[in-house]
């Protein structure tokens, strides 16, 4: 019971922290850790199908998508400032 409460508390703290961080990279990493803890919570709720899907789809694929979008935005930023200098 205390383990469950600790994990649930972590979920709330992580969810709040995501929106207090200014840097987007921090927010995405905290969101990925949130998903990992959520997949542990699915195991405690006796739903292993959900745990494996959450770990693979939500953590892996969502996290990778957010990362690649951030990288792309950064690359566009660099190109834009290059244009302004010229």
């Amino acid at each position: 019971m205390y383990l469950e409460m600790a994990l649930l508390l972590y979920l709330i703290v992580a969810a709040v922290t995501v929106f207090l961080r200014q840097r987007l990279l921090d927010a995405v990493i905290i969101y990925a850790s949130y998903s990992v803890v959520l997949s542990a919570v699915w195991l405690l709720l006796l739903a292993p199908d959900l745990a494996i899907t959450e770990a693979a789809v939500a953590t892996g694929i969502s996290g990778v998508l957010f990362f690649v979008v951030l990288k792309r935005i950064q690359a566009m930023d660099a190109e834009h400032s290059l244009d302004e200098e010229v």
Binding site: V64, V68, V69, K71
Partner: protein
């Protein structure tokens, strides 16, 4: 009519937007918490959510579908048409992303991408992925193939396969990866999987029954080759998910898929 041009009073109203939004959120949360007080305690057998529907799935699931994993039997046999719609949503999302990310005029960003694309010479990434990609592919196939016996199935196994492909692309470059997966192969794989699924489960849309025997013997529960159509459907869903995941990653990082 200009949609975005705000008149002065609307500007003044917009100043209170954060306050209104915050009070709305707090109000909704408080309302939900009040509703919570009327719920029965967690995890009791007699709770109203554990009604006839779940009992039917649990009691008849093994006999009807032949799958040890009741959830897999439920989503791929009783409610297979629902899962078909889900696979179609994935396919539609990929189509929409292809349309959205298409650059009408190739700009400086695209040319920069093509220049920095090759060659990949990160020795640490390459040796780690040399070890990992094979294991991940085998594990993904295992999860898909055992979907009716153990937790897992098409969605999780397919995204593990997709993750392995993403790792391969990241370490060896898109050019080497396009030998075994490119847009043509992706299109054929996903279309064939969806058509296969539609051909074998679309009939329930017309017959209106929740469970019809497929004609394939169910086999001995617990064997790999059992549970009738669930294994082929799992493989089809896994192909769709793996292809979609890989395609979305390539579209985001490259802008297009060749």
């Amino acid at each position: 009519m200009n949609l975005f041009s705000l008149s002065a009073w609307r500007h003044r109203l917009l100043r209170y937007y954060p306050l209104v939004a915050l009070s709305l959120t707090v109000g909704i949360t408080a309302l939900l918490l009040v509703t919570l007080a009327a719920l029965p305690p967690l995890g009791e057998v007699g709770n109203p959510s554990h009604n006839l529907v779940s009992l039917k799935y649990i009691e008849d699931g093994l006999g009807d579908t032949g799958a040890l994993n009741i959830v897999a039997g439920m989503i791929l046999d009783y409610r297979a048409f629902d899962t078909f719609g889900e696979a179609c949503v994935l396919f539609t999302a990929t189509c929409a992303i292809i349309i959205l990310l298409r650059s009408d005029t190739p700009d400086a960003y695209d040319t920069m991408l093509h220049q920095m694309e090759e060659p990949h010479t990160n020795i640490i990434l390459q040796s780690v992925s040399f070890l990992l990609v094979g294991i991940m592919l085998v594990f993904g196939c295992y999860v898909i193939a055992n979907g009716h016996l153990s937790p897992g199935g098409g969605f999780s196994g397919g995204s593990i396969l997709g993750a392995a492909l993403i790792l391969y692309v990241n370490s060896y470059g898109i050019r080497r990866a396009s030998h075994f997966i490119n847009f043509t192969i992706y299109r054929r794989l996903v279309s064939f999987s969806l058509l296969f699924y539609a051909a074998f489960k679309g009939y329930s849309f017309f017959m209106g029954a929740n469970h019809l025997p497929s004609g394939i013997p169910l086999g001995k529960p617990g064997d790999l080759l059992s549970a009738g159509l669930i294994l082929p459907l799992n493989i089809a869903v896994g192909c769709v998910v793996a292809g979609t995941v890989y395609a979305i990653y390539v579209l985001f990082s490259q802008g297009e898929m060749r």
